[in-house]
Symmetry: C2
Subunit: 347 residues, 2 copies
């Protein structure tokens, strides 16, 4: 699951926090393998300031699921402080951890941190990651970059310093990509990191895999479809009609109508998801039929299989989390059908 979170703006931070932790517990119980949590400071719908807070609260109440910040926006933190925290959390989760990194897409998140334009964000991200890797080596170093400095002390007579090495010696890393020929997915490929394709139409999924694989190949690294995840909106119910109602009238419908459609139109993404349509003609039916994956277990399995076939496939489907706080039962039942009914048909 990918818990962005798409929680309605009127929800309190405590409601957002509780819902996110409860969903982590539910996903773990149902056998989901990964739970990603977004990070934003200024967005009214995507409103978790630090995904590690959800991870900390979930660590003791889950057993198997990986808990993944998705993504820490590197230009907005002191990279050495973040690296130390990340290493610590890999131990707290006993290795059930993939670090998502990003350079920050929203101008308001940048403005909050005093960045007046975002042109340096990618360079800051690369430099921050370099520092973080140094911190995880847990050996004395000194790094003086264009944006940040960091170092690690030699032990002295009074102090033996704590290891800042991660659990198992290595932090597993993932990057999400959304745009065509995504630079983030190239970067992931070049470094052998995991890739998340944020849904922007079927053409994008194929393009994202090619971008990722090509960069990896050029760097002499072997990646496979198991490293490749696709993030989708999915709703399952016993019948197509019930699933449609749960989607359109529920949290996913509200999020799209009130937040995502305007945003996706602004960035040309809705057009990418519906390449054959005139945006003026798009109705909610088009979105139900052609963008979301909605239906009975059979319908959803068929639709997912068709997308796999058209795009070459992927290792893990990440389902977007949505705000079903007022009545969580049908949403959790959708998750259950997805694991118990849909997944076996896909194997």
């Amino acid at each position: 699951m990918f818990q962005t979170p798409f929680m309605r703006p009127e929800r309190t931070p405590r409601q957002v926090f509780d819902f996110a932790v409860d969903q982590a517990i539910e996903c773990d119980r149902l056998g989901f393998t990964e739970y990603w949590i977004g990070e934003h400071a200024t967005m009214s719908w995507e409103s978790i300031t630090n995904p590690e807070l959800i991870i900390a609260a979930s660590a003791r109440q889950t057993q198997k699921i990986k808990l993944c910040p998705g993504a820490h926006l590197l230009p907005y933190h002191n990279p050495a402080s973040l690296a130390a925290q990340v290493a610590w959390m890999t131990h707290v989760t006993e290795g059930r951890y993939i670090l998502g990194i990003g350079s920050g897409g929203y101008p308001s998140d940048a403005k909050l941190r005093g960045l007046k334009d975002m042109s340096t964000n990618h360079k800051r991200t690369t430099e921050a990651l370099e520092i973080m890797k140094n911190v995880w080596e847990s050996k004395p170093f000194q790094f003086d970059g264009e944006f940040y400095s960091a170092g690690y002390p030699e032990n002295d007579e009074h102090h033996e310093y704590r290891s800042t090495a991660p659990y198992g010696g290595k932090v597993e890393i993932g990057l999400a990509g959304l745009s065509p020929n995504s630079p983030s997915l190239s970067f992931a490929g070049r470094n052998g990191y995991n890739a998340l394709s944020v849904y922007a139409g079927e053409a994008a999924i194929a393009n994202h895999w090619n971008t990722y694989e090509q960069a990896a190949t050029e760097a002499g690294i072997s990646v496979n479809r198991e490293n490749f995840r696709v993030v989708r909106d999915v709703i399952v119910a016993d019948t197509d009609a019930e699933a449609r109602k749960l989607a359109v009238e529920g949290g996913i419908g509200k999020a799209w109508m009130e937040y995502l459609i305007p945003v996706y139109k602004q960035f040309g993404l809705l057009q990418a998801m519906l390449p054959d349509m005139d945006m003026a003609d798009v109705t909610i039916d088009d979105i139900v039929e052609k963008v979301w994956i909605v239906g009975s277990p059979d319908t959803v399995a068929e639709k997912l299989s068709a997308v796999c076939e058209a795009t070459g496939g992927w290792g893990t489907t990440l389902v977007y989390g949505h705000d079903y706080l007022d009545d969580v039962k049908p949403w959790n039942y959708s998750l259950q059908l997805l694991t118990e009914e849909v997944a076996p048909k896909m194997a």
Copy 2:
């Protein structure tokens, strides 16, 4: 309680994390009013990288106790990111939150963040706090300081930004002081913040109160002893002999012998705690008798009352947390005796 934490260096982060959360739950159950958690990135004994992680994991499992980062070291974070996270956590705890702030005392923590000397730490702290207060106003602003920039966006046609105002509109703040005429406690007094006197002998407690009260009076602010906390090492058992054994042979003894005595000697603090002694002559008995507060409920109540009388008193006693992970029962019983037997004698 003040969970620095003094956990042995060989403890894993997961053990430190679980012990800290379990202690928060136990302290809440016993009626403790505040639970402070330290923040350090490089220390082998004081090894929690971000106290909010403990607070997040404790928020759902505690009811009344205030959960307090003590302290966030402001020069080591992006102040706007920290401010947004702090505001969010005041809501997650539904107001059970006091923000401890500090400027960072350990050179290794500074070196990790690329600060080659610490001479700017105090100025960075003041500027970071200024930015954080601006963020908590949750109104458009632009701040360009000597060390940091930050801002808050105007709403635009596509986005209504999320409030970054804290629960109840205000963040309660506390500062800890250790040195004579502590600049931190002056700062706390001038701003009407809470004060924590970290134990450095009885003379220091009296000095700390005077420093704090005088700064407040000069600023035209009224503070009282209720705002004043003293942090001490305390162990209670049914008899003096049992308490002594639990202290000397347990976590508190280990922390002092292996970590704190060398550190306290280095900074002249042990001399301040034992002003009439030659440091070469100090034995563990001196520390049990004159530095820690150890004994039966009657003994501990007498000792605490004597210190109160000698120093003018304080509002809240904060007990240092210690590593009783291998057998937590006698330690928790000590906490229980403190609340059930000692506290009523002090009222």
